[in-house]
């Protein structure tokens, strides 16, 4: 099947290339264009060759300026064949664009992506060689609007095309005009969840390149900035594109304010998306960030990964915008549950907790409760997480010296009959953790992974040492398994008893629970 398929597109694309060349070379073959446009209807699955062809044709036409219609005001429409032809070409151009946009929603993923790229390329070509001849900078916003309309589909998730669109959002003009267009498009009463998802993703991508604040850019490396900035539709002989971060910021605010009116929190996926966008990209841009407080607070109460994400926003609010949040620490405390290991944001949570708990003004009992809870969790965590948790505990111990009493109870310790710490207590400072000891850490000294083991030893040694708290290690990509494989060993130890079969001579356990050979 694959072989047959491979040959066909090759043939088709070769044919198409011929046709396009003929069309571009002489007007005799003008009908070729019509043919090509016709072929869109015949095809159902893979539009890529067709899209590439029209991209080639119209980029060339735009470059030549064949599409420019000379309209002289107060004169009847030119009826000459030349003008007719131009008009026909314009029509074809519009059709082609429409076709390409249609293709974004249809067919194979590859061809969809190609369609988007074609649209963008044509947009770029038109920006460089505008249909109405002008000297200034021109950005074909209408085309962008069309593209966005397609991307913001209500039914179909456009994650893949939007992800592809990322390569164009790097251009400053696309970013600025994109935000403008998006803010114009955004107004809508009751969007579907998919629409919201697409919208948020698109906005996320548009804000990917950081929007600098004006005062910063002006003062500092302005020259560098201008060199680095990439402009999609600009060319040397034109006026440079006037990039204005303030405008961008305003539009971004508008986009967000529209989105705020939607029921973002109805569906967890959208909710997560929105929070991520807000926390990662929008917070610094918002003019009045405290308006997001309500949403963040609601999210914080939602539990699970959503509250973890909201936490970051709240932290931002607390730190930068003087928001006072009640029971902040209890909420943080409640987030440390075994379920957190299953979420993607556990690293973020640990990082945030490290920041939250770095204040030296916190009551001892609260920090102790955290230390206790973290070490409890480390007991059941996967090796990587356990290491990170222990690191966090270590930092706590270093930042809050009174906690050292959980490691070394100085004058004659009394033996207790149970652990005074109450795991179930929701209020951190009431969990009586200060009376307890970090027995969990001493158990973790027997962890099977050497790295965790040594980390635990370091925590235990924290009682006597005075060191700088280490900043939480960035999420490590290197797998523990691979790291272990890379270790060098002087010798390779072997078992000293030769096994006589499947049962190992020293402490066989598998066969004790399994009857495998009968």
């Amino acid at each position: 099947m694959a072989a047959v398929q491979q040959n066909l597109p090759k043939m088709v694309s070769a044919q198409l290339r011929n046709k396009a060349n003929e069309f571009l070379n002489s007007r005799k073959y003008a009908n070729n264009l019509a043919d090509i446009l016709q072929m869109f209807e015949a095809e159902t699955d893979n539009y890529s060759p067709l899209l590439l062809t029209i991209e080639v044709i119209f980029t060339e036409l735009l470059r030549r300026g064949d599409l420019i219609e000379e309209i002289v005001p107060l004169k009847p429409v030119d009826q000459s064949p030349e003008a007719e032809y131009t008009r026909w070409l314009r029509e074809c151009y519009e059709t082609a664009l429409a076709r390409a946009l249609e293709c974004v929603t249809r067919g194979r993923t590859n061809s969809r992506l190609q369609a988007l790229v074609t649209c963008c390329k044509l947009l770029q070509a038109e920006g460089k060689h505008p249909l109405e001849s002008s000297t200034g900078y021109f950005f074909p916003s209408v085309r962008l609007k069309n593209i966005f309309t397609v991307l913001l589909d209500s039914e179909q998730s456009m994650s893949a095309p939007i992800a592809r669109f990322q390569e164009f959002t790097e251009y400053r003009d696309v970013q600025q005009y994109g935000l403008k267009v998006l803010s114009a498009l955004a107004y809508r009463k009751s969007p579907t969840p998919t629409y919201m998802q697409n919208y948020l993703e698109l906005l996320d991508k548009l804000l990917l390149t950081e929007i600098q604040f004006e005062n910063k850019t002006k003062l500092k490396n302005r020259d560098n900035e201008e060199k680095e900035e990439k402009i999609l539709c600009g060319s040397e002989d034109k006026v440079p594109f006037p990039y204005n971060p303030g405008v961008c910021r305003r539009y971004a605010n508008r986009c967000w304010s529209f989105a705020c009116q939607w029921p973002l929190c109805a569906e967890p996926r959208t909710h997560r998306r929105a929070l991520l966008l807000l926390v990662e990209r929008l917070m610094p841009l918002l003019t009045r960030p405290h308006l997001a407080t309500d949403m963040l607070c609601d999210s914080l109460d939602a539990g699970g990964p959503i509250s973890m994400l909201a936490l970051q926003g709240v932290l931002e609010l607390v730190r930068r915008h003087n928001i006072n949040y009640p029971d902040m620490y209890d909420r943080l405390y409640a987030m440390f549950e075994p379920e957190m290991f299953a979420t993607r944001y556990k690293k973020r949570l640990m990082h945030l907790a490290d920041i939250f708990l770095s204040s030296t003004h916190l009551p001892e009992s609260l920090v102790a409760a955290f230390a206790k809870r973290l070490s409890r969790l480390a007991l059941v965590a996967a090796p990587g997480d356990a290491g990170a948790l222990l690191q966090l505990v270590h930092n706590l111990l270093l930042r809050h010296p009174p906690l050292k009493r959980m490691l070394c109870r100085e004058p004659d310790p009394t033996i207790m009959s149970s652990d005074p710490y109450v795991m179930e207590e929701t209020c951190a400072s009431r969990s009586r953790a200060l009376g307890s000891s970090l027995w969990e850490v001493s158990l973790l000294r027997r962890h099977h992974v050497p790295a965790v083991c040594s980390e635990a030893a370091r925590v235990l040694a924290a009682a006597s040492e005075r060191a700088q708290p280490v900043s939480m290690a960035p999420p490590e990509d290197a797998q523990l398994f691979d790291a272990e494989l890379k270790k060098r060993f002087k010798t390779i130890e072997m078992n000293f008893i030769r096994p006589q079969g499947m049962t190992s001579p020293s402490g066989e356990r598998v066969m004790q629970f399994w009857e495998l050979m009968a």
Binding site: L443, R446, E493, M494, S506, V510
Partner: protein
């Protein structure tokens, strides 16, 4: 004092010293010269040497001494020539002249007595007698030359007395007249004299010649006679006959004699340790194991040093102040231990090796194979890939299962046949024994001894087998450890070959070949494939011929295969497959053993490398037999094969530790990568079995180990990432958990994922309600898959096995039986894990959820045995936690170092000397040191005084010189003034 320039001055001081002794006639003391030293403290009974002294006298003495030594030396300073009287004792007044002579003679003798030949007492010393050497006296000269002796007695040159009296001195006047009668003139007389003497001389000459002739004659005659006198007549007679005979005999026996002599002179066996008794041997073995166990424990505690150095800095090595910054490169203090692995390559990281020139150090590889191994690896990998492709294709076809099934069916059919041929077995064992003898390593004595017993046992076993039905038989044979059944298995091998080889062999081989060829197609050239195919065909022919002649051909074929096993690098994997397929596990084991033995590393150079490659292929083989197992029979069979192969894995790993480790690690890595592609899906047995293999080969208890640590991490990843929602995953999860238990049984390490998994399983078993949830840890989730292991029907009457079984791996739907056994096994596992942490306080919080969950299980529905076991474990855990005490963590008490205090030095026996406490060496040392100090002090003082003396001498000389000069100048002036006076006088005269 300047350096002694001349040797001749060196002995001066001694001489003077000696002289002083000689004239040691004491003068009377001048009382005015005596100086009495005041005694500060008077000690009773103490003899003082220094209570009085003679300062003047001693100073005079000292000056005199210096004058004689330093003074003379100074005189001779810068002078090259000197007369030295070296006659011995010449200057010594004490010696009499005779003593002097004796001394000189002795010196002469001593001089002659060279050291060269101390044992040759009298050789070089020439003894004389009357001034003549004895040699000269004793020489027996030719009589001819001794003629002067004759003349000696005669006076006057042999002239006659009358002649002399007459002729000499003018003759006598008195007798002259008488003589005149003869009227001889003086002239006549002289002539007569001459003639007479000549005549006498001639006579003498003649006489002499005659005697000479006679002696010569006598000599020659004697020489002729000699043989007659000395030879024994017997020999003369028999020589001709007997000699010949003897010679002939000798020639005949030469070989024998030679051999005998050789034997006699050959080095006997070197004395070695005597044969050890069984007990002794067992004891030694035990001791060895104990030692190894100790080492293992050390490794288990192991790298505590990993974090210890963080707190305590390494103490700097002492450097004395002298060698600070003296621009010498300090030697690198880091000591490395140079160790070699079995192949004689150093076991060190290469960066270290670079610095040191280590023999045999191969540039790159951390493993033992030679440099070519990189190519091999590539090949191997590609090969593996190919094989995998083949497997894939196999699985796509979905026909894979069938041949196996056929096989098992066939086996069942053939089993009765086996029993028939016990006689054959006996023969075949003999044969195989012979064969194997060639290859066999020298077994331990013990083993050999045991062999006879084992043989008996095996025979008994056979008898049993005879009587018993077919299916149970195999079980028994295989259950007995391989070593014991070596003989039986060998026997069985051949029989079964008869059975299986014929019927199944063809089918299977064909399929295998096809797949093998198919995989080869891509990479190999056509020629090779053809040749291979031919080879395969040949083998097939051989197999067909087997039908007629069973054993020998088969054995031959096998040896042939073994012989050509490593011929083609690419075909090795296929060769192995060929060698092993269609055989029972024990047969496979035997075949492998043969293969391994025939490529013993002692036999050829590159065998080691070959064996390491074999290891890789065996891994591949195991991988193959464990892939895509669909039904219980296959799984059991795979495990049986693995059971037999495992020891060989161990052996191979022992022979080449480094490369086998590399293979295993690569395999693990590949499996791990595969797993990470779909982390939610638990890996199948073809991955899990290697964990078991690793635990068989490597110690699992080490703190850190290149193989076991990664595999344990892998397992814990499996348990913490995979999703457990069906029988497939749960059974494998339990298998992994029990493997984890096995890995940690000695070290008692915490593997949270295993504990969490058990918690999850209990959660699945428990009758949980949504209202009152008990937390679970990911990968398990609240309310997901809940109750899938929950027993709903009353199964209290059901009879259930204790253990999980192979069939569980193939289970599609979860049934009650499975549920019950799952609970049973996981509770068993849980107890083991629980016991790990008995002395830890945190045990409580770790296992509390388990106990809670176990409480939710509706135990009434379970069979009685299981119910009692579960409740027993739960109660045990509960009671253990109840009595648990929580001791708060405390800092490790450091011992306070006491301040050093001065204490009275009590001596049990007071000797007065400080050094009494010291050891003998130290006392000696202290004594010498004080002596040295004192001597040093004295020497310094002497030198000071020497200097003073020299200075005084010099100034005196200077003054003396000056005076002389002044005198001379005065003299000159005087003379000049006289002259002037005279001149003036003369002038005045004019």
């Amino acid at each position: 004092m300047a350096k002694v320039k001349n040797k001749r001055n060196s002995g001066l001081a001694d001489k003077v010293h000696n002289k002083r002794k000689v004239d040691g006639v004491k003068k009377k003391l001048n009382p005015f010269e005596v100086h009495i030293n005041r005694e500060k403290i008077k000690v009773l009974g103490k003899k003082s040497k220094h209570d009085r002294g003679l300062p003047g006298v001693s100073r005079g003495k000292a000056i005199q001494k210096r004058k004689e030594t330093l003074g003379t030396e100074m005189k001779l300073m810068n002078k090259t020539n000197a007369f030295i009287d070296r006659r011995i004792g010449e200057k010594n007044n004490q010696l009499s002249s005779e003593d002097r002579m004796i001394a000189r003679f002795a010196a002469e003798r001593a001089r002659q007595h060279s050291k060269k030949d101390i044992y040759n007492l009298a050789d070089d010393e020439i003894l004389t007698h009357r001034g003549q050497t004895l040699e000269q006296i004793e020489k027996f000269d030719d009589p001819r030359s001794s003629d002067e002796d004759d003349d000696e007695g005669k006076k006057f040159g042999g002239l006659g007395d009358d002649f002399v009296s007459e002729g000499h001195f003018g003759g006598g006047i008195l007798s002259k007249t008488e003589a005149k009668d003869g009227a001889k003139s003086h002239k006549d007389l002289i002539e007569q004299l001459i003639a007479e003497s000549k005549k006498r001389k001639a006579e003498k000459q003649k006489e002499k010649e005659q005697t000479l002739d006679l002696t010569e004659k006598l000599d020659s005659e004697w020489k002729d006679l000699q043989p007659v006198v000395f030879k024994r007549p017997r020999i003369e007679e028999k020589e001709s006959v007997i000699d010949k005979l003897l010679k002939q005999a000798e020639k005949k026996n030469e070989a024998y004699d030679k051999m005998m002599r050789e034997l006699r002179f050959e080095k006997r066996g070197t004395p070695s340790d005597g044969l050890k008794s069984d007990e002794k041997q067992a004891k030694e073995e035990r001791e060895r194991l104990e030692k190894l166990e100790q080492e293992r424990l050390q490794r288990m505690e192991g790298d505590d040093e990993v974090f210890a150095p963080r707190t305590q800095k390494p103490t700097p090595k002492h450097r004395s102040a002298d060698d600070l910054d003296d621009n010498f490169d300090l030697e690198d203090e880091k000591e490395i231990m140079l160790a070699y692995d079995k192949d004689g390559k150093p076991l060190l990281p290469e960066n270290v090796l670079k610095d040191y020139s280590v023999p045999n150090a191969k540039p790159k590889f951390e493993d033992g194979i030679s440099d070519t191994s990189s190519d091999d690896d590539a090949d191997d990998e590609s090969e593996e890939d190919e094989e995998e492709e083949a497997n894939d294709s196999g699985s796509e076809e979905d026909d894979d299962g069938e041949p196996n099934q056929n096989e098992s069916l066939d086996k069942k059919d053939e089993k009765p046949n086996k029993i028939n041929s016990t006689n054959d077995k006996q023969e075949s064992t003999d044969e195989s024994d012979d064969e194997s003898d060639d290859n066999e390593e020298i077994n331990d004595l013990k083993e050999e001894k045991g062999n006879t017993l084992k043989k008996q046992k095996s025979i008994e076993l056979k008898k049993e087998n005879k009587s018993e039905a077919s299916k149970t038989k195999e079980k028994e044979v295989t259950n007995i450890p391989e070593n014991k059944t070596k003989e039986t298995s060998k026997a069985n091998t051949i029989d079964k070959k008869e059975a299986n080889g014929i019927l199944i062999g063809d089918d299977e081989d064909e399929s295998d070949d096809e797949s093998g060829d198919g995989s080869d197609d891509g990479s190999e050239e056509d020629d090779e494939i053809e040749s291979e195919k031919e080879g395969v065909d040949d083998l097939k022919d051989l197999k067909e011929s087997e039908e007629e002649s069973a054993d020998e051909v088969d054995a031959e074929e096998e040896t042939e295969k073994i012989g050509s096993f490593f011929d083609l690098k690419l075909a090795e994997g296929d060769n192995l497959k060929e060698l092993l397929t269609g055989k029972t596990p024990s047969q496979q084991s035997a075949a492998l053993q043969k293969l391994i033995k025939s490529y013993d590393p002692g036999l050829a150079v590159n065998n080691k490398e070959l064996l390491s490659r074999l290891f890789a292929h065996m891994l591949q083989y195991v991988n193959d037999i464990f892939t895509d197992l669909k039904d219980e029979g296959d799984i059991i069979k795979a495990f049986l094969i693995f059971d037999k192969l495992a020891p060989h894995f161990y052996d191979l790993a022992q022979t080449n530790k480094v490369s086998t480790k590399k293979f295993l690690v690569e395999l693990l890595k590949e499996k791990h990568d595969n797993y990470l592609k779909r982390p939610k899906r638990i890996p199948d047995l073809d991955t899990l079995i290697f964990f078991k293999l690793v635990s068989l080969i490597y110690p699992t208890s080490d703190f850190r180990h290149p193989v076991t640590t990664p595999s344990l991490i892998f397992m814990s990843e499996i348990l913490s990432l995979s999703r457990f929602g069906d029988a497939f995953s749960i059974s494998r999860g339990l298998f992994v958990t029990s493997l984890v238990l096995e890995y940690t049984i000695l070290s008692k390490r915490l593997v949270p994922s295993a504990v969490n998994f058990l918690r999850g399983i209990l959660y699945l078993c428990a009758n949980t309600s949504i209202l009152n949830p008990i937390q679970v840890v990911p990968p398990f989730k609240l309310h997901r898959d809940a109750k899938i292991l929950n027993l709903e029907d009353d199964c209290s009457k059901m009879v259930v096995e204790n253990k999980m079984a192979a069939k569980d791996f193939a289970l599609g739907e979860i049934d009650d039986d499975f549920k019950i056994r799952c609970l049973n096994a996981s509770m068993g596992l849980l107890k083991e894990f629980f016991d790990y942490f008995n002395e830890f306080e945190a045990q409580a919080c770790l296992f509390e959820p388990h106990i809670n969950l176990a409480g939710r299980i509706d135990l009434d529905l379970y069979p009685k045995k299981v119910r009692s076991k579960v409740s027993e474990i739960v109660n045990y855990m509960k009671s253990a936690l109840e009595v648990k005490t929580f001791t708060p963590l405390t800092k490790e008490q450091k011992k306070v170092k006491a301040l050093r205090l001065y204490e009275p030095d009590f001596q049990e026996v007071f000797t007065g000397s400080k050094s009494s406490k010291l050891s003998r060496e130290n006392a000696e040392r202290a004594r010498l040191q004080t002596k040295y100090k004192r001597e040093m002090k004295g020497a310094l003082r002497e030198i000071r005084r020497d200097k003073a003396y020299i200075a005084s001498v010099k100034i005196r000389q200077k003054i003396h010189g000056d005076n002389m000069r002044k005198d001379k100048v005065k003299q000159i002036y005087k003379e000049a003034s006289i002259q002037q006076g005279e001149l003036n006088k003369l002038k005045r005269m004019k």
